[in-house]
Structure formats: C-alpha cells, structure tokens
Symmetry: C2
Subunit: 397 residues, 2 copies
DNA sequence: CTCGAGCATGAAAACGTTTGCACGCCACCC
DNA sequence: GGGTGGCGTGCAAACGTTTTCATGCTCGAG
C-alpha cells in the first residue's frame, strides 16, 4: 500500500483555469526581438560600430557611443548568444554529464559547479542519467557546438568507451574516473582510502564482524569503496566473509532493504559500513524498526557526509568528502584545461577527506591516531552563528 | 570548533601529479573538428546534400546517401549546435533559473526537469542563486539566443521586476509565482492549503500552542505557508501569538538554531510546524539534544516530504508535494507554450498535495476526515520490491 | 520526337554576430 | 602646402548550418 497514492496518482493539474487567447495584447514572445542591425539603423551607424560600443572593443567617439547606447537601451537589445558562439568558437558554456542526480551528494556537486561557473561568468548545460555508452554519447553530441568542454562523471563500466570518444573531441575533466588516462585531468574522491579508514575505525572500536552495504556492481565508486572495505579487514587480520557483502543502489530505499537482509544475518554483524549516507539513512531506519539499536547493538558508518548526516538520530559517523568542492574543483580544472592553449594537461586531483566521528558508530571519543574526532557536543552544535553548511561556501577551491 | 576544519581547509589538490606537455600526441582538442563542408568535400557533394542526408529532410539517391554517410562517419562529424540554433531560431534548450539549489527539494525539482527535458529531446541551461533583480536579469540576458524559453522560480520579492522583463521577451513558465499575472502559465505548490492542513491536523490532535519555523521573510513560499499557519489557527479559534513565529532560512542549520530558540520559549509550545523538511530535520535534532522528545513532548510537522523524511527518527509527518513532478510539469507547461504558436496561454496549475502522517506529529492514526493517514507499518514499509522513490519516476505529468 | 513531370543536386542567401581591412578626415610637423 | 599619422567609421567576410530556388537530367506519355 502506497502512502499517498490516491491524490498523487492524477498528477496532471488539479486546478486548471482555462486557456484563452487574448486577441488584444500583441502575441507575446512572438515579436522577434531587436537585432544588432535594428540598433545600427536606429542609431544611424553600422553594425560594426554597435558591436564596438557594446563590447568596448575599440575606440568610438563620445557622440556615437551615446547614440548607440541610447538606441540599444530603447530597443531593449539583447545580443544573440548563438551568433556570438558561432563567430568566436567559444560558447562560454560548460557541459555537465552526470550518471544521476538523485540525492544530496549530486545536489551538492551541482551546487558547487553552478557556483564556480557563475563566478567565472560562464554557464552550465546539464544532463544526467547516463549509464550507457550510447546515452552518454548522444548527449555529448547534442551539446557539440554549444559547450567549450565537459565535466564528466561516468562511474559505470559500460560507459567507458563513450568517455574515450568524448575525450578526443573536447577539453574534459573527469569526476572519479575509473582509471587514470594519460593526458587527462580528473578530480576524485578518495573512495578507497575513505572506506579503508572508516572500516579500520570500526575495527579499532573492537568490531570483528562488519558488514557492508555496497553500491551497484560495476560502479566505479562502489567498487573502490568495497575494495577499501576488504583491504581494511585483511590489514587487520580479519577474514572477509562474502555473506556480509550486500548490494544496494546508493538510494535510501536500497539501504532500507539491505537493512532487512542484515536483520536476518546469523550470526549478526556488530557493525555495518554503508557505501554512502543515503543508504545509511535507510539502513538505520530499518534496523531501528527491527528493534536493533544504533549504535548500541550495531555500529553504522556512512560515506559522503551529506548535509543532513549530522542531524540524524543518531548523528551519522561518516567519511567526509566535500561534494560541493568536488564540483567547484572540477570547474576550476576545466578552466585550466581551456586556458592551456593546446598543451596537454595531465592532472589528477584527489579531494581531501576526513573521518567524521559522530554517534552512529558507537565511539563517544575517537581512538588514538590522526583521525579527527569530535565529542558529542561539538558534533551537533553548529559553530558560532552560522553552521558548517554555510561556511563551506566560503572555502575556495 | 568546527569538526573537520583541519584537513579540509586546504581545499586545493592534496595529491597532484605533475603536468607534462607531451609533444608526441597532436595537441588534443585543438585540431578543429570536421565541419559540414569537410564532409561535403570528402563525399564530393554540396553541403546542402550532406545536410539533407544527415537530417533525412529530402530525398537523396541511395548512392550519394551512402557516400555521405560514410564520409560523415569517417570524419566523425558532429554538427555544430550553435549554427543550427542560429538558422532555426530554435535552440532546443530550456533555460532554468532558480533562486537556490540547496537541499533535496531543489534537487528533486531539477531531477524532474532533467528527466522531462531529456524525454522531449531537449537540453537544460541551468543557473541558480538569483535573488536580486539584476542577478536574474543578467543571467537571462546571458542565455538570450541560447534558450527557447525559461522555467523561472523567483520567490524573492525584489526579483519581481526582473520577472516582468523576462516575460516580455520569452516564453515562460513560472514556478510558485507570487501573483498570477494574466497571460502566463505557472505551476505551483499549494503552499497555503498545505500549511493550513498541516496546522489543522496538529490542532485536531489537541495542540493549542503551536509554533512555526517559517522561511525567510519576503520569500513567497514562506509567506504563503505562514499565512496558512495563521489562518488555520484563526479558523480553530486560536489566537495567533507572534512570539511563536520564528524565522529560518529553509536550511537544516536554521532549523537547528530555531530549535534553540524554541527550547527557551515559556510557556513551551506543544507542537511546531516547520515550513520545510530541511528545517524540521535540524529542529528535531536540536530538540532531542535539549532533552525534548519528539513526538512525546512536542509534535513536529514539516513541508515537502523530501525523500529522507520517512527515514528520520521519528519518521517525519509532513505535507507531501512532489518536487520531481513540479519540475516535470513545468517542462510540460513550457512545451505547451512553445507549441502554442503565438497564442497567449493563461494557465495555472497547482500540484496535488497530501498530508503524510508519520510519527513526528504524535498521531499513530490520523484523525477522521479526508486526510490520507497511514499506520506506522505502511508508513515505513516500502511497497513491494521497489520503494515509492523509484515508483515516482513512472508517474507521468 | 517533343514536351512536361519529377527527381536529384548545387548555388547562394540567410541566421546575428565580430573583425580585418580600407577609407576619409583632421591635425600636425617639416 | 603636401606628406604623415592617428582616429573614427563602414564594408564585407566569416563562423557552420539550413533552405529556397534554379538547374539539369531521366523517363514516360502523347
């Protein structure tokens, strides 16, 4: 039984005042807008001069400048972006291709991209849900001539070939690339290291039987985090048990479902590492429903440190990776590539990361070592007048 | 003390393998790509014929078709989008201007837009963080000639003038417009009605002293929800108390901070209506820290029903408004406007909404009446094999 | 055999900009 | 008083497409 099925089923307009075609007002939107030629005519100059005035690209006499400016304003002239792009072979636009945009992680990535792009006076052409090579390729093709380069995230194995073809045509920054290709710039999250640290932390708290809710198979991020999980176990002389490896889909629901499976595991694990916070949220919810207390009965750690992580009950221990900065850095990297005239840049950035120990893993105080630990108080008490969420906006890339 | 201050402070690359300019490979990205003329030359035909073949826009002999296709493939020809836009005066692109893109609500709106746009074979030019009129206007100006129309959300009072100017130039769909302007199509959330229902529900549960954590002042959505809150009180003969009206910013932090203020209120409210789920999350977190139990000591309701709402502890009672559908409907509406040749459409859609009663408000079973209520079991148990989140994608607009 | 119809194709204009080049004008200097 | 610059401006080409129009060809009917 779906909660809100009834009303929502009819998704088309609930209220819909009728359409009417008013003959009085001139058909809005239709009157083709003023072009540079109209302005030129109105100011009694050539289009060249109008262009020069409006772009400040050459000296123009005060009198003409005045006339042109006045005419442009009177006609409400807005230059045509496509025409400019065509002439300059520069679109001032960055293409962004993502596998998905569900959840807070991607939301933050996009926010970071948007901010950085806006600061640079550019624009963003966005498209998502690309897991297949054809999908990715056709999206890129549709953007050809409208973007100067791409920010591309393609964690799915089968999309790899498309990435190669796009690389040949466009300046590119890869997000979390599966492999580092020479002559490419990429920005990555420390998937392996973060997972390794998170699981190691659980181990150091005394856990020996640790399950993982991984992401979908064939997904690069998921694979790396799984690898980190296994390596941490091995490094601490714990035999990995494949029955403790569950597969999710990076969504809350899938975490919830994994929770059901975990409840049935015998012997039960004493801790669970969820490969992202979204799944951790669903997981904790399900465990609580099953009468299993977090962290008393089972410790949980997530990955991402999405904005809501700290507000959960219990506050979620997780691997902090700044998705906002990831996006911002990708933009910065692409700008570098675009700036490097023809030179082939070979850069690989890995975003800083950190363990954030809150309550869900059961450690009130972190273990000795280099990990950042916080007491419960500092964990949930936002600093000063503004919380970390706002603060993050001020960090530069 | 910020949790993760240290490592994250240095946001620039932690690892950065050096740049090297390989002289061997031809400077990637530089070799200007094949144009339609190159294809024409290679196939020994005119550009007109190439265009005809590639677009299937006129009959071409089998032999020429073959030659052209082969040449296009061999040269890896990708048509230039800007040139096409210029000629057609159609860009196949929708501009999306949002006030912000923080949090799950906007994330879902964008996701809905992206999906609908992709299904229609179009593209999205995205820009956000527009609260001032100038900001909005300059963003729109930069998109002129690159988009066919706009999806525009401008809840801030001061941006109103910019909306008017944009309306004069472009086909437009407004999201949650402040006022309904004739000759405009808009898609709205039932802010007033939803808030009214949520607060009424709290009242029916027996609450008399109900606080609200509102959004920022001057924000259309916030204002409407506040109005609904007040109206519900009045409708049930409860005198509104201005000391119970707190202001937030639609973020988790601001909800958290409002929680601090609520803890100090005397006499304490027995219920709180948070104007969005994000603030509800922060609020509940702060209340729990203060030793106040939700829902036992104070009932809480939110607004939006973001994906994580159902997984919170306690699961959040809230007003369900489908942000994903909101975005999808906006696209559908804009397509209608673009399709209506010059005709002025005057449409106002209001999205369906619903109360989702979970646990945070304290009602195990909803009250009598037309409200959709769910028992705890159905509330948190995802339907069948796939949860509502996935299911939502299948609803058409 | 001639004529017209129909088909396949090419030439060129157009979309709205920017910019290289040339031109005319004025002031200045020997 | 005739060069010499420099300044302000216009003409026209160019960017990469699509599309209108014209043209040449083939084929069938009369």
């Amino acid at each position: 039984m779906l909660e809100v099925a009834k009303k929502v089923a009819l998704t088309r307009p609930a209220v819909r005042t009728d359409a009417d075609l008013t003959g009085s007002t001139p058909p809005l939107g239709k009157p083709t807008m003023a072009t540079i030629r109209d302005v030129a005519r109105a100011a009694a100059v050539s289009t060249a001069t109008v262009s020069r005035v409006l772009n400040g690209t050459a000296r123009v006499s005060d009198e003409t400048r005045r006339r042109v400016s006045e005419a442009a304003k009177r006609l409400d002239y807005w230059p045509n972006g496509s025409a400019r792009s065509l002439i300059h072979s520069r679109t001032q636009t960055l293409g962004v291709l993502l596998p998905d945009i569900f959840g807070e992680f991607f939301s933050e990535v996009i926010r970071g991209i948007d901010k950085a792009v806006r600061d640079a006076g550019l624009q963003v052409l966005l498209s998502s849900s690309h897991s297949s090579a054809e999908g990715l390729l056709s999206a890129a093709k549709a953007m050809a001539g409208r973007v100067d380069g791409f920010i591309l995230m393609a964690p799915d194995l089968e999309a790899e070939s498309a990435v190669d073809r796009i690389r040949k045509r466009f300046p590119l920054v890869l997000l979390n690339p599966r492999t580092q290709t020479p002559g490419t710039v990429s920005v990555s999250i420390a998937n392996y290291e973060g997972a390794f640290a998170a699981v190691s932390h659980l181990i150091r708290l005394g856990h020996k039987r640790i399950a993982i809710v991984a992401g979908p198979m064939g997904n690069a991020d998921s694979d790396e985090r799984l690898r980190g999980y296994r390596a941490a176990l091995v490094a601490h002389d714990i035999e990995p048990d494949e029955r403790l490896v569950l597969t999710g889909a990076f969504t809350e629901v899938s975490g919830y479902e994994a929770g059901s499976r975990i409840l049935r595991l015998r012997p039960a694990p004493t801790a669970v590492f969820a490969a992202n916070d979204g799944m951790a949220i669903g997981l904790i919810s399900r465990l609580s429903e099953g009468g299993v207390r977090v962290p008393d009965d089972v410790g949980v750690m997530g990955f991402d440190d999405i904005p809501t992580a700290r507000y959960l009950a219990p506050p979620l221990s997780t691997v902090r990776t700044d998705a906002y900065e990831l996006g911002a850095c990708a933009v910065s990297g692409l700008l570098d590539v675009l700036g490097a005239e023809g030179e082939v840049l070979d850069l690989r950035w890995v975003m800083p990361w950190d363990l954030v120990i809150r309550r869900s893993c059961g450690a009130l105080h972190g273990p000795r070592g280099s990990l950042t630990t916080t007491t419960p108080e500092t964990t949930s008490e936002p600093a000063q007048s503004r919380g970390p969420i706002l603060q993050r906006e001020e960090e530069s890339c």
